[in-house]
């Protein structure tokens, strides 16, 4: 049973006959005492919150009171656990709340507890006013580089960084107390691990490191002489983007019959495991057919597996330990396109290399005389697949052209038929021509060959007609 000590009406700072009163409730004795004209909340360390006993707003009148104003609601001294005005307090009933003090710095603080209400029947207005006071005392303070101050229990967000990397944040600990304080950081991904001592009256930078081990919001604590601050940081993994990747093709990638290389370095080390493929495609010029020899050498196909592991600085091919992959450019004019697809990051990136039509290129040319004939062997490629003319000129051992000089042959249909019948060869060919000879074959010294295709004319250097070995 609550025992109320009713105040004399003359003591209440109201403008009408008091029906409202403020009391302080003591739960230990279950008693209420009038709050009076002033109330000292007490002394609190900076950042700490001191709460008053329960304050009760009592309606001792016969009618309900509509409370329209209640304060203070902001500042170092504020009410807590109160209903927002307007609200009613029924006759012979009460509304409880608290007054709290959270000093932002040392020294005295004041405010005024105000209550305004009106009788819902008589419209009589009632005003209550209590002078509030409190005192803040020095305590260690924590601020960040942006000037934000933190109180114990506050969340200090250190930032966001990639898993495995370290983010450094610097806080400033100002120890305004007469004693040294010790700051300790805990939490798996936070540092420093060793305690930091700040002497009395000193202000010292307190570096906080955050090295996330997983992609998550990680938490830790900073404890300063028993005052606990909560640390949070966000670890993330950065998937590769197309901007992070660049193709590096060797300079011979736009030439036929070459083995070119491709590598795909990253702008920064990969943070995330990834996998995918690098594929080759070929668009021949005009109506030329595909060229099967355009392929990766590692597996004789047009697709190789690739992968990325955290820390990799380039895409790894096949088994994951090679950063360079060799492919053939084939022997057909057209455009080779390389497409990288990474499944985890969803990146697709391409690069192309165009191989222009070129005159016939010969890789190996020999001329060998047998007993009564000369065998010419020409290996090479025509990336237009459209050689049209083949010309031979034989010279005697003194360098004089053997009449009639040029021996020209239209080879258009021969080459066309050959390429049509041999789709695997691309533009390569081996031509063997036998020239039966009557007379002293040793007088035939050299021969030059001209091959014509739409891109130009190729002329061999004089091929020396060598003698076939006598014994084979």
């Amino acid at each position: 049973m609550t025992t109320r000590l009713l105040l004399a009406a003359a003591m209440l700072p109201v403008t009408a006959l008091a029906q409202l009163e403020l009391t302080l409730y003591d739960p230990s004795s279950n008693t209420e005492t009038p709050m009076g004209n002033s109330f000292n909340i007490g002394t609190a360390a900076v950042c700490q919150t001191l709460s008053s006993p329960e304050v009760r707003l009592r309606n001792i009148g016969p009618n309900a009171i509509n409370v329209t104003t209640l304060g203070p609601l902001d500042g170092a001294i504020v009410l807590s656990h109160y209903p927002l005005p307007a609200f009613q307090v029924a006759s012979q009933s009460l509304q409880a709340f608290y007054v709290t003090f959270t000093p932002t710095g040392p020294g005295p603080a004041t405010s005024t507890l105000t209550v305004t209400g009106n009788d819902v029947v008589t419209s009589t207005v009632y005003n209550l006013s209590v002078a509030l006071s409190a005192t803040g005392v020095a305590a260690p303070t924590l601020t960040d580089s942006g000037g934000n101050s933190y109180c114990p229990g506050a969340q200090i967000y250190v930032g966001r960084t990639q898993v495995g990397s370290t983010l450094q944040t610097s806080l400033t600990l100002s120890n305004t107390t007469p004693n040294a304080v010790t700051a300790t950081v805990s939490g798996q991904d936070f540092g420093p691990t060793a305690p930091v001592t700040v002497l009395a009256g000193a202000m010292q930078a307190l570096p906080i490191s955050f090295t996330p081990s997983i992609a998550n919001t990680e938490t830790g604590t900073l404890t300063v002489s028993g005052l606990v601050y909560n640390l949070t940081g966000v670890g993330f993994v950065q998937a590769v983007t197309s901007l992070d990747l660049s193709f590096q093709l060797s300079s011979n990638a736009d030439l036929s019959s070459n083995q070119a290389t491709v590598s795909i370095p990253l702008a920064s080390p990969a943070a995330l495991s990834d996998a995918g493929t690098l594929t080759l495609s070929f668009q021949p010029t005009g109506n030329l057919p595909d060229d099967p020899a355009i392929m990766f050498m590692a597996n004789s196909t047009r697709t190789v597996s690739v992968e990325l592991s955290p820390g990799d600085t380039a895409v790894q091919f096949q088994a994951g330990n090679a950063t360079q992959c060799t492919f053939q450019t084939g022997t057909t004019a057209g455009t080779i396109t390389l497409t990288l697809t990474l499944t985890v990051s969803g990146v697709t990136k391409t690069v192309s290399s165009t191989i222009a039509p070129a005159p016939v290129s010969l890789d190996l040319s020999t001329a060998v005389s047998a007993t009564d004939s000369i065998l010419l062997s020409l290996s090479g490629f025509d990336n237009t697949h459209a050689a049209s003319a083949l010309t031979f000129t034989f010279y005697d051992t003194s360098g004089k052209a053997i009449p009639p000089g040029l021996i020209q042959s239209n080879v258009t249909s021969a080459f066309a038929n050959y390429y049509e019948a041999n789709p695997l060869v691309g533009g390569t060919f081996n031509l063997q021509a036998t020239f039966p000879v009557a007379g002293d074959i040793t007088q035939v010294g050299t021969v030059t060959v001209e091959l014509t295709n739409p891109a130009g004319v190729t002329t061999t250097l004089p091929l020396t007609v060598s003698q076939a070995p006598l014994v084979d």
Binding site: Q259, A293, M295, S300, S373, F381, Q432
Partner: protein, 262 residues
Amino acid sequence: MLARCMTVLALASTIALAPSGLAQSALTPPRIGFVRDDAGIVRPLFGISGNFWLGEKFAVEALSVASSGSFSILKTPHDILVYNATGGLVGRPTPAAGSGLFAFAPAGSPVFAWLQDSGELLRWNGPRFEPTPVSATNLNGTVISLAAPDPSTAAFLVQRGTEIWRVEVSVLNDAVVFAANLPGLTAPALLFDDGSVLYAGESALVLRNVLGVERTIPFPGTVAQFTQLGSDWVLINNSQPPAHLALRLSTGAVFELPEVTQ
């Protein structure tokens, strides 16, 4: 078949070049030789410098193969087989056990086969290989390469301890006609019929001619074996990184060969 060229060439009225000109001519895919992979599967290798492709599987369980461009010699677990440039079987199989080393004449025809297990030298007589008096006895070491400087002389690279020797033996009477230590040489190595030797030096391939003049070709890998692949071509079985490569002897260019995933 190319178009016929009916031009008649006459040389000072003493000779004439082919009334039919290009009548006997042909276009074919450029074929280099045979390649044996690590699983013993043999495939023909086609192409030119910088552009290769493998043909269909030709043989399995092959122990050795070598090609000259004109002919190829294949060693199965039980026989020695000779094929011509188009893959046609030449002559008859020669029964023989184990792996082998082979030597060709300069123009490409088969000459000798060395049987590693039995230490015997065989000579090609047209239809098949036949025994010779040459055996491992006079070689005094492990044969690592074989060449045919002429039809009656077999040339060997022989490993004797840490030394490599070039030994030439008459196939008529097993007499050693030449023997010389080749200082600085290490296995694997490949001997050519002119006496030149290819071996793997430090980060380079080295081609040493018979006078001792060396030509180096930068090469970062670790060679496990050299094999004659074709006219002007040597197959390099690389152990690190594992790969098959082709060396063009005349240019010194090294190319990757297509790998086939089993």
